[in-house]
Subunit: 164 residues, 2 copies
């Protein structure tokens, strides 16, 4: 098995009222199976966050980003009975691009109205960072600790959050 | 050999006119040998950037941070004849702490006047991010590509920099 970096990018392409969301339905063995997330993926060797962002967005959407913002880092840690995995996600929003949307191998791409976002099957912790994005919160570091599908802990810039 | 994450923290503790600098003289085989850098180190399993920051600062200085800012991510990539290594450094400044400075096993800790910083033996690219810190540049992603000790490329937020 190819050794993959635990460092990833996650990008929400947006227009005024909508986000481009990816419904992860393609792969059977997928930690995000059936969830709605942004586009992105693992860093390849020696890539910067922006190198990875531009490559992954191009691969998954066909689009070339021309305007984006680095919004935060999410430390995503997931405990299961067998293992604990931790991923560092560089979180971006993007509001400028060129090209035409093409189908994505990882699932179905769909423009979703921001007001309808929370009715989708989202990771609990994603709702926390969507609120931070909507509030124009400055660059943040958010740690999310899951056991299975359950969010157990959320820590914003080193301080425990009450999120429920 | 213990497998180490390529993800690190780097912290410059400051007061109004000085940075706390670490002169790396202790280890013979050290990519930073004889250079002056900040304190910090590699992430341990499942740590967030702040978990790593607080632990490393405590271990290396004896101090407990109470006020810090996450200033940027530096993608440091170094080509030698044998290999290419890449490290993602979460860059912090800190202006509040408790406790008393203790000796560091990695080298000598010294308070250095900010105006005297560039007379030290620094990585060329560190001068770029020190300028960004001094200018209060918003959160940045800086990629620095070295061949041996020579900086070959500097990319700020995805755009090539002329730094010479």
């Amino acid at each position: 098995m190819k050794k993959r970096s635990e460092f990833t990018t996650l990008c929400y392409i947006e227009d005024e009222s909508r986000y481009l969301m990816l419904h992860r339905t393609a792969k059977e063995k997928d930690v995000n199976k059936d969830k709605w997330i942004g586009v992105g993926g693992h860093f390849e060797a020696h890539e910067s966050p922006e190198d990875c962002l531009l490559r992954e967005v191009k691969e998954e959407t066909g689009l070339t980003l021309i305007s984006w913002r680095f919004r935060g880092i999410v430390t995503f840690t997931l405990k299961t009975q067998e293992e604990q995995i931790t991923e560092y996600m560089c979180l971006y929003t993007a509001d400028g691009y060129e090209g035409t949307l093409t189908p994505c191998e990882e699932g179905t791409l769909e423009w979703v109205e921001k007001k309808d976002l929370f009715s989708l099957n989202l990771w609990e912790g994603d709702k926390i960072f969507f609120r931070l994005l909507q509030e124009e919160y400055p660059f943040f570091s958010l740690k999310l600790v899951y056991e299975g599908n359950e969010l157990r802990e959320a820590v914003l810039n080193g301080t425990n959050l009450e999120w429920k």
